[in-house]
């Protein structure tokens, strides 16, 4: 009986913190200057910890690309040599207050968004979104990929830093709340959010002293990319989820992440432990010419959106993308209704018009996942299994049930519940 009170109270308190967190995009800076523990030979990656030998194609490609970008190597073979000589350290983004989409590889010289949770004071970081096509986050590292990254680091990044520096910051929670009312769910669909982001940045960018050409190119770049807000959104979700982490006795999930090989979760009341199992292949629609045979196992930190109560959890807000899960608008409603079964609270800020403005389901409780046999739904992009090919589709994936069961047993051990 006392367990119940303890766990219920702890979970409520954790998720209340998650909801109360107010993530503000305050600026852009260089990773090594802001991310705690960042250093030259450290590469951050998506998902739970993983060693080079077990990395999938897209993650390996992104690692190689990042080493080239950092100027540490000139070629793939040099990169592999350096890694095999043990001269490169790897760590999950999550261990450094950071999140990254797909491969999520973040290196010391990259520009990153800075999110400050003004309610609780914690920070979170995410790199800048490269747009579509051949991009590092899908493991591409050809010359054009690297030169685009250099441009982002050397020209767009400083301009955004300068622009944001003159502002009070952008309230990402408010932006998301509005985007959910415009057909976004915040993970796979960020069209509305990216336009809202552009709308807020445009006056700041145009007001800067950069060249007309640069200002125009940056605005074009941000506007062409319907995912431009994804990275600050992910960092905002990370800041919110982190606010819920470390609550004693809480069984709430505070991180879900995939590295392309394993799916991992962390639990608020279980310190820094990861519970992992092989990641599945998403079920969804493929771009012409591709099929599930081309798909990499699930990858990326973007599941932080579902962790924070949006993404697939707010699917009812985004009927336009139900075709990814081969469904009807009713299926979109059902997806969100299902997530209420395994979550702790309804979000106070993220509301869903089609559900009579009910708050989105927030704070996955591992007890409910195991009891009802319902794993969290995740909307995701699908990466090609070979480095550098890029996105081949989008769809739905669910984490393996075993990691929730394992977490439950670990919880019982940790708190001496026999």
């Amino acid at each position: 009986m006392s367990n119940m009170t303890d766990i219920e109270t702890a979970n409520k308190s954790a998720v209340e913190r998650m909801i109360a967190a107010r993530p503000i995009l305050t600026g852009v800076s260089t990773a090594r200057e802001v991310i705690p523990g960042m250093r030259e030979n450290l590469l951050l990656h998506a998902g739970p910890p993983i060693e080079w030998e077990r990395m999938s194609g897209p993650l390996r490609g992104a690692v190689i690309g990042a080493l080239i970008l950092e100027g540490l190597v000139k070629s793939e073979s040099e990169a592999i040599g350096m890694i095999e000589a043990g001269e490169v350290d790897f760590a999950p983004c999550h261990h450094h207050d950071t999140v990254g989409p797909m491969a999520g590889v973040t290196s010391a010289s990259m520009k990153v968004y800075i999110i400050k949770n003004t309610t609780h004071g914690n920070y979170a970081y995410s790199n800048l979104n490269e747009g579509y096509g051949k991009v590092l986050r899908y493991g591409a590292y050809s010359e054009d990929v690297i030169s685009k990254l250099r441009w982002m680091n050397d020209e767009m990044g400083p301009l955004l830093a300068d622009s944001l520096g003159k502002s009070d910051g952008i309230d990402i929670r408010a932006l998301l709340a509005e985007a959910l009312h415009m057909g976004d769910e915040g993970h796979n669909r960020n069209k509305a959010g990216s336009l809202l982001f552009l709308k807020q940045l445009a006056p700041l960018v145009t007001g800067s002293t950069a060249s007309d050409e640069l200002r125009s190119r940056v605005l074009q770049f941000l506007g062409d990319n319907a995912l431009s807000v994804l990275n600050p959104v992910m960092a905002a979700c990370k800041a919110m989820a982190d606010a819920a982490h470390g609550i004693e006795r809480s069984t709430v999930v505070t991180a879900m992440a995939r590295n392309g090989t394993d799916f991992g979760i962390r639990i608020s009341g279980l310190n820094d432990a990861w519970f992992t199992a092989p990641a599945g292949v998403p079920v969804g629609l493929y771009f012409p010419g591709y099929s599930s045979a081309d798909a990499n196992a699930d990858i990326g930190d973007s599941t932080i959106t579902e962790t924070a109560g949006i993404g697939a959890f707010a699917m009812a807000a985004a009927p336009a993308i139900v075709t990814f899960v081969s469904g009807t608008p009713q299926d979109a409603l059902n997806a969100t209704l299902e997530m209420y079964e395994i979550t702790t609270m309804e979000h106070g800020h993220f509301t869903i018009p089609s559900l009579d403005f009910r708050g989105s389901p927030t704070g996955v409780d591992i007890r409910k996942v195991v009891e009802f046999g319902i794993t969290p739904r995740i909307n995701t992009g699908i990466a090609h299994k070979d480095a550098g090919v890029g996105q081949v589709g989008a769809g739905l994936v669910r984490p393996p049930m075993s990691i929730f069961e394992e977490a439950l047993f670990a919880y019982a051990d940790f708190y001496g519940i026999t």
Partner: protein, 565 residues
């Protein structure tokens, strides 16, 4: 040469109705001799084996087992291949909206629902019912195989929270015109019922309908509600609800054989409810055809007939008013009878005990407790003073009042006594003027009681005729003058005594929602889907839960989860 093939689908739970329909449809396919589709519990597997099916070993309780026996291998394979199609046809009907997987989610979709119908397998049923009580819902517990301990715990919890648990193993109920489980379509009317579990209620409600009257509500209790351990919790709550229900004018209580003390407890509550109550407690001897507002019947149809007659008679006399609780809290609890007539004592004991609960006596009657010390009464006691022990060395009390007067003083000195019954038996051979000796002591004792604020009554049964030598009227006058309540009819004396002694009613009532029976029925259904469809077709609001065993039936995880609640 026939062929039998099987398929085991691990961890795929379906309710038995779906599986039975599937089984029937499979069996109708061409070339199929027979089909078995079950959750592979040991009991179900045994059943299949005994029906002549053979299948692979190793299926677990939470696996779906499909066995098909056909004329040949090809027909069997063909039938097996159709399983998914047949099942999805079933599913399609209800895949429109979202089917919640948990009661909590269902409650979120239907927050004002007041009922949860539970028909999951027995080993999960108690937990589901407990969860329903935890979110403040009343429970219709259709599931059987719920342990007595669980039933007691559920009902006690419900009692404390002012909620109702109908069942377990409750097949029938009618609430506000909506039949739960297996219920007949009956006319709406003024007769409210409380019954054990199913067919009994169906028999009576149908009979009442046939006789032209109607049903207000029918509350199911489950077959063990009147067992000693359960103590009629649901029946008492049902009685409370029907008592307060404006529509209900006559109440019928039927049950399987009750524990005697529980029966008395229920009847004592029925006595005080202020409405006529027709009682058919199978195996519980009726003390009389009628005691006050309680009408005892000996069969289900008899009960229906009496109830309908009572409705037609309208406000019949003899309905007890409920005792003012404030007054009754100060009431002493016990009745004592010191009677000269053995048969009178016998009849009084049986009559009083049926409502007031256990009596002590020197009479040897089934269910009446043996008084250990005949010279000292305890709790409710009726004594036959004509017993040999009392008459040794003295005359029979019909002739000699000496010991009776002493005993009258002794009983009245006990401040837990509220009524003392005595009898005056007149006629040849009896005392020539018994009232001349008993009236003065009656007056004295009543006066003394009044001075010390003790609520004491002396009830005097007078048996005789106006032609008897003692002069019946003169005897009655003397006793009346002394303040005794005089009755010539033993039945009326019993009724008066019960009224005077009846325990405080308010103790039996819980704080139930008085609108539970009059609100439109709105329910969450967990288990058999046919119950959802049935409620919906009757115009009730219902949401079905797509229920699965916790943790997919993994015992180890389920146990762990129960400790993390």
């Amino acid at each position: 040469m026939s062929a039998t093939i099987n398929e085991i689908r691990p961890g795929a739970y379906f309710d038995s109705v779906v599986l039975m329909q599937l089984q029937r449809e499979l069996a109708q396919l061409q070339g199929v001799i027979d089909a078995g589709v079950v959750m592979a519990t040991p009991a179900n597997c045994d059943l299949l084996i005994s029906s002549g099916f053979s299948f692979d070993e190793g299926a677990r309780s939470d696996d779906l087992l499909i066995v098909i026996k056909a004329d040949d291998e090809q027909s069997a394979e063909k039938a097996l291949a159709q399983v998914d199609q047949l099942m999805s046809r079933k599913r399609q009907i209800q895949s429109e909206g979202y089917l919640p997987k948990s009661m909590q989610a269902a409650a979120g979709q239907l927050p004002h629902s007041s009922w949860v119908l539970v028909s999951v397998p027995g080993r999960y049923a108690a937990k589901v019912a407990r969860d329903a009580l935890d979110i403040n819902k009343n429970v219709f517990l259709y599931s059987d195989n719920v342990s007595l301990e669980d039933e007691v715990e559920l009902k006690k919890t419900a009692w404390e929270r002012g909620l109702l648990v109908m069942g377990p193993d409750c097949g029938t109920a009618i609430i506000n015109g909506v039949g739960f489980g297996f219920a007949n379509h009956v006319r709406r009317g003024a007769i409210g019922l409380i019954g054990a579990s199913g067919t009994g209620l169906q028999v009576i409600t149908s009979e009442i309908h046939r006789l032209g009257a109607g049903i207000s509500h029918a509350i199911g209790t489950g077959g063990r509600d009147l067992d000693e351990e359960v103590g009629a919790i649901t029946a008492l709550e049902g009685l409370n609800l029907l008592t307060r229900d404006v529509e209900t004018e006559v109440i019928v209580v039927v049950s399987k054989p009750p524990a005697p003390e529980v029966a008395s407890r229920l009847l004592s509550a029925a006595w005080g409810c202020g409405k006529p109550v027709v009682v058919d407690l199978i195996g519980h001897p009726a003390p009389a055809r009628r005691i006050g507002s309680l009408h005892f019947t000996s069969s289900l149809t008899d009960a229906a007939n009496v109830a309908v007659r009572l409705i037609q008679e309208d406000n019949e006399s003899g309905i007890r008013q409920r005792i003012n609780p404030e007054e009754s809290t100060q009431r002493p609890k016990f009745a004592r009878g010191i009677l000269a007539g053995g048969t009178i004592a016998y009849e009084v004991t049986i009559g009083l005990q049926s409502v007031l609960g256990p009596f002590f006596s020197n009479l040897h009657i089934d269910g009446v407790k043996h008084l250990p010390d005949i010279w000292k009464s305890q709790e409710h006691t009726i004594l036959d003073l004509g017993d040999d022990t009392f008459t040794q060395g003295r005359l029979h009390p019909m002739m000699d009042n000496d010991y009776r007067i002493r005993r009258l003083r002794q009983e009245s000195a006990d401040d837990e006594v509220s009524v003392i019954l005595i009898d005056l038996v007149l006629g040849e051979g009896a005392h020539p003027d018994p009232a001349s000796e008993l009236a003065p002591v009656t007056a004295e004792l009543l006066q003394k009681a009044q001075q010390s604020n003790q609520l004491l009554e002396i009830v005097c049964i007078v048996i005789g005729t106006d032609e008897d030598p003692q002069d019946l009227n003169y005897q009655i006058e003397q006793m009346n003058a002394a303040g005794a309540k005089v009755f010539q009819d033993i039945g009326e004396a019993i009724i008066h005594t019960i009224d005077a002694v009846l325990p405080v009613q308010s103790k039996e009532w819980t704080e139930q929602n008085p609108e539970l029976l009059t609100m439109p029925v709105s329910a969450i259904n967990i288990g058999l889907e046919i119950f959802s469809e049935s409620l919906r077709s009757q115009g009730a609001e219902v949401i079905g839960v797509d229920w699965r065993p916790p943790a997919g039936g993994d015992e180890r995880l389920a146990n762990l989860l129960s400790r993390l609640k």
